[in-house]
Amino acid sequence: MREYKLVVLGSGGVGKSALTVQFVQGIFVEKYDPTIEDSYRKNVCEFISLQCELIRLLIVCLQEQFTAMRDLYMKNGQGFALVYSITAQSTFNDLQDLREQILRVKDTEDVPMILVGNKCDLEDERVVGKEQGQNFARQWSNCAFLESSAKSKINVNEIFYDLVRQINRKTPVEKKRAKKKSNCILL
């Protein structure tokens, strides 16, 4: 079974855990309970390839201020969801640094990544416009962008499926098989 290591990052209180719990368990957690680090695992059917292949998603939510752990998971993670809250400008501004750090740790521009504007159900409290998010994503070498709501279950699954798709595009499954075959021909 193929495994995908996804990391959800963002400032405190933007709804990283809420998104992940909604995706993994289908529940909206109303209570605020700050996470230092939590891991989740979910097996899903991959619809992208022709066959319905079972894949396993390992998802880690990280509070942004614990830098030691952030580095570790940045190194090991394959796909990154950078989450901000559309109701707080500062959470949006924080993401630039995070992205730069990921690129630095990964030492490449091409990292499977998605920019997520969470809490889009709170339209009345919106501070960060949708265009702002889109522009930001465009600057990030056309990174994927979604506005989501863990509470109203908008675009929750899409975040994680999109990351899986990006990872597949970057490291196709066939590549691995081809490598194995080529090992035999080496003689």
Partner: protein, 285 residues
Amino acid sequence: MCNDVSSLKCLTWLASDNTAMTHLGSRFLNDVQSYSNVNKMSIQNLATVFGPNILRPKAEDPESIIGGAADVQHLMSELIREHSLLFSRENCNPPETSLQAALPIQRHSHLVEWVHEPPAHLREPLLSKDHMVLPDQTVACPHKHSLPLNTKRRESFQSPCDKNITHSSETEQQFQENSSPTSSALIYDNYSQNSPAQESLHTRHVPTPSTPLPACTSLSKELEAGVQICMQSRSWPDMEEPSWGPEKALGESGGSSEAQDSTLSVYDNIVTKEQGEQYIEDREA
């Protein structure tokens, strides 16, 4: 509760400027939590976020942070909740004056020692000589108190309040004997069998084993087992999947077990059982 507070007696080992800072900080956080119905930052939540930043492990690796998280959160919440009680002794030594007095002398040493100082000074036998000196230092002159802080921080903090020195040294010893084996052992035990506390922390969001997938039963069993493992915070680095091979070679994963052994000693500011016993042995000698 009593144990919790007494385990925070390590506060008395802090220099006066650090004590003042801790006091102000915890008082401020207590103010913040009084609006928790609006800002959702209850004492528990504040402790989760601020604890790891205040009670820092010596080695800032994920295993140390996660391993001590439950204890750190617990201590931090007590610090916020009981700040008025814990720092009440300061009334006879106002933070402003002690700060002024201590700053020029101690600035350099304590910025460094805060984290890196070995807990060796705990094991130093208490010299009765120090206590003999103390009566000369009056409360009216906080500058004098700051001077011995460089060497005997603990005594200097207690001195302004301990009017009856001989009596206090006796009670203090009793206090040490009573509290350090119990309270710090409590921390230690908590830690060494850390799984119950930590699991309860991490199983909060355990995905229900009933998978949405119509997959075979053996798989769901495997998942069930997998869920248990993955809820442990170190799930990723510990993964023993061949696909992790190249990344494991980087060394983060291998480090987890050894880091676990050394985690508690990594906290300078939490007394381990051994240290506590050693301290008492030294004192009795």
